[in-house]
Symmetry: C2
């Protein structure tokens, strides 16, 4: 590793999105006098009568969450997308352009237990969640009006999760959203040039360098990507070529469940606090095209920077210029590696 990268300001290229991130390794000395976050201290009960995701409870709009074991999927009561959105096609001189976006928003409860999280669930229980993701992805991808299925989880109040009950969301859209569209362009260009998926070549390089790897098992590898934006961002990569959740083999599902458990539990140990994050899977679009360039992967975007209460703010320069980070991906990887153990 070039030692200068660990000390001097520089920018790194994100080949998956085709954009830059600014790295300022020397800036960690900056004292923090700004906003600090609350630590959730209230003990979380196994069952909360006020929680709309706990078995048997009432939801908004008169629905009821049934008594369930394992997982439970339902259509979001306040869906941002609707399958039957009316036709819109507006274009005023290429400057005011709007189009219909049909879609489906579902919620997936990971467990009937209000107090568990991916970090504290056991691997067989997480394996059931993986199976539901795969099945939901397949079902939604088969619908002719859907081009992309985005599976994600917002964890923690800091990440806009309005309920601690372990759950994720699935938003399926008529068009490919910006982020997977950018990843499609970059992966397709790489594949056209090299005849190999970008993320397969990238994983090989990381396995040689071994400076940013945080966890490994039979089927999956977790790294802090060379171009990470969030302080402790990670990328989960399957060892073998696979484009979608539905295409994962039995053993890949098993090791994904194990990897999710390792990574989320590791995060919690970094600052000895439930680590907030948004995570999600990116896989090949279901737009009717072949996507040999696509390698399935998961992104974890966790906001904490220095402690349980001091986060990274993506504000002024980050919003108006480029993303910026204060600790190197290599030092974040070392911290995570020892937390995962």
């Amino acid at each position: 590793m070039n030692e200068t990268l660990l000390q001097a300001p520089h920018r790194r290229w994100n080949p998956l999105k085709a954009e830059w991130v600014l790295v300022s390794p020397h800036r960690t000395q900056r004292p923090w006098q700004g906003q600090t976050e609350d630590i959730a201290t209230a003990a979380i009960p196994q069952y909360d009568p006020a929680c709309y995701l706990c078995p048997g409870n009432a939801r908004a709009g008169g629905e009821h969450t049934p008594t369930y074991d394992g997982t439970f999927v339902f259509t979001n009561d306040y869906a941002a997308l609707k399958p039957d959105a009316p036709k819109i096609n507006e274009d005023i001189e290429g400057l005011l352009r709007a189009e219909t976006e049909r879609g489906i928003c579902r919620v997936l409860c990971f467990s009937p237990r209000h107090d568990l999280t991916l970090a504290t669930m056991d691997v067989p229980a997480i394996r059931s969640v993986v199976d539901v993701w795969a099945q939901q992805e397949a079902e939604l991808a088969a619908r002719p009006e859907i081009s992309y299925v985005q599976i994600f989880e917002n964890r923690g109040a800091m990440m806009g999760a309005s309920n601690p009950h372990p759950h994720g969301q699935i938003w399926a859209t008529e068009h490919i959203p910006n982020e997977p569209a950018a990843e499609t362009r970059a992966q397709a260009a790489y594949f056209a040039q090299h005849g190999e998926p970008l993320l397969q070549a990238y994983l090989r390089t990381e396995l040689q360098q071994r400076e940013r790897i945080v966890a490994e098992n039979a089927g999956w590898v977790a790294v802090v990507p060379f171009w990470a934006v969030w302080p402790f961002e990670t990328l989960l990569l399957p060892r073998e070529a696979v484009g979608t959740m539905a295409a994962l083999t039995e053993s890949q599902r098993e090791s994904l469940a194990d990897m999710l458990q390792q990574v989320t539990a590791g995060y919690n140990r970094v600052f000895d606090t439930p680590f907030p994050y948004s995570m999600g899977f990116h896989g090949a679009p279901c737009d009717g095209e072949q996507h040999p360039e696509w390698q399935l992967h998961a992104h974890f975007y966790p906001p904490l920077l220095r402690s349980a209460t001091v986060r990274k703010f993506m504000v002024g320069f980050e919003l108006l210029g480029s993303p910026q980070r204060d600790i190197t991906p290599e030092s974040a990887a070392a911290t995570l590696r020892s937390a995962i153990g």
Copy 2:
């Protein structure tokens, strides 16, 4: 206006960045049970002996802020960029790529008064800030190693500002950051096709439609852009063609000061609270090229959504898919218009 746009989910095109935003107008009914923000209730004194930006006080690293009237500029004590960063040029198979990013980070105090903000300063005082921005931009742009000067302000603890003393930042970089680079590409493509700057044509369309304009004066117009991401996002546009802050005429500077006062004071009236935001100017790069396509403008990115304590979270779907908003730009514009009055 197509009424369907005000009610049904759709996506809108941002021609300045060449990307989409998802709009879900019906989603405002969603009850909010998640994180709420603290309201700063402590009265802010005119002078705070613990503030490193107040005249005469000590800063980190043994520096002192002098006694000053009006404005005061200094190099950030914890600069994310350095003018003398050592040479880095790493490229491992196009997958691990890093480059030196030289630069300069300065802080600009808007006023010696700890308790004022752009919203409560008078127009002549804001005019002095505009003049310093123009002078700083010109000075930094003249340096051969600098290609872009990013002027911005993070306002409020929610936006990572670690000090309420009225101040902004100026980061000058060797390379053009991602956001102005995307805006350069989009404006150049439009200019090549139409022979007119994109934002001049856009302003004309907005002045015809009059649905998203929130304030106007002799030299500037503030609109909620058709493609706004943040709930009450605004775009400040000069009426005449002008590429940079330094190129603003006397009367354009005067009306910019007035417009900044109107818009920031208007924000504070929306929820009767000091409205947090990140704002900044985008102007032509100083990369040695001609930029007839560029029209100077300011972006305001304020996070509040429903009240002084309920913000919009840019999380799961937004980070992994596309930005998403719950209120239409048209309804946000109506709210802001009446707040500005």
